[in-house]
């Protein structure tokens, strides 16, 4: 899965037909296996970058699971997204520990600086903002995740610097991971 991830978030455009062909491979691989919906959705999200309705309807028909149920699962888990995401997905933890230690303020600061709301993506397609419920790092609260990287004890006042680092790494074509 990690390999797939690299091929798809590097920005190279893959034709949609190719993506669907890869989705078909996944569907074949998981065919008839109980509990196959979630792993298939996870792989589809890596392939397409998010879960467009077209893809979900395709999966629903192939697995013969009602579309309402597929949508129910997708909307239940915050890790699934039905909107295109930016290169950097920022997830702000609002689990109990992070919440009481200022997670909400961190979120507000991000919203203000990025000028987007939760679930949205910046115009330059660089950042998306999501909310999570506990990443299992309560001792480091409040935390945010930027793609796979955990940032601990985040202060609202330091958000601008943090974002600037990601932005500048873009300019030098480097990755901050």
């Amino acid at each position: 899965m990690d390999k797939e991830c690299c091929t798809c978030t590097c920005g190279a455009e893959v034709p949609e037909s190719e993506l669907f062909a890869r989705l078909d491979e996944t569907l074949n691989e998981y065919h008839g296996k109980p509990g196959n919906l979630i792993p298939i959705l996870q792989i589809a999200q890596v392939l397409f970058g998010y879960l467009p309705e077209k893809v979900l309807k395709y999966i629903s028909k192939d697995l013969n699971i009602p579309y309402s149920e597929v949508a129910g699962v997708v909307s239940f888990y915050s890790f699934f997204s039905t909107h295109p995401r930016g290169k950097y997905l920022i997830r702000v933890c609002l689990g109990t520990a992070c919440y009481v230690r200022g997670g909400k303020e961190v979120l507000n600061s991000l919203k203000k600086i990025l000028k987007i709301d939760v679930g949205e993506t910046t115009e330059d397609r660089l950042f998306s903002l999501e909310v999570g419920r506990c990443f299992g790092a309560c001792g480091l609260a409040p935390v945010i995740l930027v793609n796979e990287k955990v940032h601990q004890r985040v202060k609202p006042s330091k958000i601008a610097d943090l974002l600037a680092e990601y932005k500048s790494s873009e300019d030098t074509e480097g990755e901050l991971q």
């Binding site: 979900l56 009602p66 579309y67 309402s68 949508a71 239940f76």
Partner: protein, 591 residues
């Protein structure tokens, strides 16, 4: 068989039974808002809490299997308190405007709150978010009243195999609805209304069209006629506290006349007409297949009276659309005949006639507005009310239903036979068709005792029968010795079973009856709440009683239908029939 006690009374139930099943056996009432007969228990509402000796916490009776030596208590101080708290919490979220709610006096939550003695809601707080969904012709949904019991999900997914509804999102934001909270019209929904029939509160109902009928009745330029489906007469009484299975044909007719309809007619009339058209169509298809060896003729032929079933076939099995009888449903045949033949007879412009239908069904509201249903040049059926809506209308008119005298329906479109009555029951259309087809091809009396084809009657999900044709009239000799094989399914998940059996070659039939709702139209989505199997059986029995009490019990004996052919249609499947009484189907994309 494990033995247990409930409130110190011993009871024995089969292994795997739940505490709720055991309590039912003892006629002990345990309240529940999410339990649905025939479905896997979900334990969502938490109202059926009981105490089990040795268990630390109360358990849900609907989902807890019994075990040997279990001691259950349903009426302890703790349990009363726990149930009360559960319902208080439900009420704290529920946007209850009881006095002006569609479900006033017909609401399970309202009744339970009363039964538990709840006089105030101690947890004021946020209410569930309100999304009105009025996107479909048949159903309206109000999420602010939804208590997330999930009955609608069970009936739509498990009983009907459609799956339009599912919980979306999670936690407090959970919304029971179509994918991504889309309007119902944007996803596949067959409009059967089984969700509305089992919703414990006012979250899903039929689109209320009572006011439209009053407006038509108050318009002096309109000639307003009404047709009543066969299933109404065995259920309408329940709206006036009569037990299920009370036949109220005569009172219903009087009530409709008192309400002010210009003529009171019967969908039964066109049910008889359907049998002549559909029976002839079946024989024509058989002749094409057996004599002309036409490989293109589609067999088995499926019945087409049930609009929920038609919607299902169009979305889920477009490959079998040629197998559906081209006959319109009796409701639509009625509209087409009323606005042509009858309009001519009384010298009225069809534009001035308003056809109102009383149906046990919500999908009929959808069917009436299909654009192709305008064979008379105008919309054939103008307004469709459910049985429940008629009950409300009678109450609005201040009519004391139970003390009404009986009366007869008007001629000619109110004349019918017993074969039309049984259209209400699963297996009924098949039986009515066989009564007529058999007599047409043999010229002999239908040989079944009491005229009933017992193997296709009752609540078994899929039923089969066969009738051997011998000693046929000369013009039908090509069918000599043929064993006509038929199948009957009710509830769409059962229809699916039959279709899959046919597709795999496991079974072969000539004629298949499908009714969308469990039990047939007597269990329709527009019938008085609450319909369980006991209610279904009582209504089915009442319908057979109605049929058996008739002088004429075969559709081809209907004198008014005979006259309609003589004066107007000329012959079954003729040019006029084709124009007015037959239709076509379109594949729809499943979403």
């Amino acid at each position: 068989m494990p033995k247990l006690t409930i409130n110190n009374i011993e009871v024995e139930v089969p292994a795997g039974a739940t505490i709720l099943d055991a309590a039912k056996k003892l006629d002990m009432k345990i309240p529940t808002l999410c339990y649905l007969e025939g479905c896997k228990p979900v334990g969502a509402c938490r109202v059926c809490l009981v105490e089990v000796k040795g268990f630390k916490d109360p358990v849900t009776a609907c989902s807890m299997p019994v075990s040997e030596g279990m001691h259950v208590f349903t009426n302890t101080r703790e349990i009363r308190k726990a149930r009360k708290s559960v319902v208080e919490l439900l009420l704290s979220e529920h946007d209850g405007d009881c006095q002006v709610c569609d479900r006033n006096n017909d609401c399970e939550l309202q009744k339970l709150a009363g039964d538990l003695g709840i006089t105030r809601v101690p947890y004021p707080g946020e209410k569930a978010k309100r999304h009105f969904d009025v996107s479909t012709p048949a159903l309206v949904r109000d999420s602010a009243k939804c208590i997330n019991c999930r009955r609608c999900i069970q009936v739509c997914g498990q009983i009907q195999g459609v799956g339009s509804l599912f919980p979306q999102g999670r936690g407090y934001e959970t919304y029971i609805g179509p994918a991504f909270c889309h309007p119902l019209s944007e996803v596949t929904c067959v409009q059967c209304g089984q969700c509305a029939a089992i919703c414990p509160v006012g979250a899903i109902s039929e689109r209320d069209q009572v006011e439209e009928v009053w407006e038509a009745l108050d318009d002096p330029d309109k000639f307003v006629i009404v047709q009543t489906a066969p299933a109404i007469r065995a259920a309408l009484g329940e709206c006036f506290d009569n037990p299920p299975g009370t036949l109220v044909t005569g009172k219903m007719t009087t009530a409709l006349r008192n309400i002010g309809f210009d003529a009171v007619f019967d969908t039964n009339f066109t049910a008889d007409l359907t049998i002549l058209e559909e029976g002839t169509e079946l024989l024509t298809r058989l002749k094409k297949a057996l004599v002309d060896k036409d490989r293109k003729v589609a067999l088995p032929m499926f019945t087409s009276c049930s609009p929920g079933w038609i919607n299902y076939a169009e979305s889920f099995y477009p490959e079998i659309l040629d197998n559906l009888s081209t006959c319109k449903s009796p409701q639509q045949m009625f509209g087409a005949v009323a606005k042509t033949y009858y309009a001519q007879k009384i010298g009225k412009d069809p534009k001035d006639i308003v056809v109102v239908s009383i149906m046990p069904c919500t999908a009929k509201k959808f069917e009436a507005q299909r654009p192709e249903m305008a064979a008379s040049g105008v919309t054939d059926v103008d307004i469709v009310l459910t049985t429940r809506e008629l009950g409300k209308m009678i109450k609005q008119a201040g009519i004391d239903f139970n003390s009404l005298p009986d009366s007869e329906m008007d001629a000619p479109l109110g004349i019918s036979t017993g074969a039309a009555d049984i259209f209400a029951n699963t297996g009924g259309v098949m039986e009515a068709a066989l009564r007529t087809v058999y007599e047409i091809v043999t010229g002999k009396d239908f040989p079944f005792p009491k005229l009933h084809v017992t193997p296709v009657a009752g609540l078994e999900g899929v039923k089969e029968a066969s009738v051997k044709l011998t000693g046929l009239l000369p013009e039908w000799s090509f069918l000599e010795g043929v064993e006509v094989k038929v199948a009957v399914a009710h509830g769409l998940s059962n229809a699916k079973k039959v279709i899959e059996k046919i597709k795999s070659g496991e079974a072969e039939y000539h004629f298949v009856e499908v009714m969308c709702c469990p039990g047939g139209c007597i269990g329709g989505g527009g019938q008085p709440r609450f319909t369980d199997n006991n209610t279904r059986l009582a209504r089915i029995e009442a319908i057979y009683r109605e049929d058996e009490g008739r002088k004429l019990r075969k559709s081809h004996q209907n004198p008014a239908v005979q006259e309609l052919y003589k004066e107007f249609l000329k012959e079954p499947l003729g040019k006029m029939s084709h124009k007015l009484l037959h239709t076509h189907y379109k594949a729809k994309e499943r979403v």
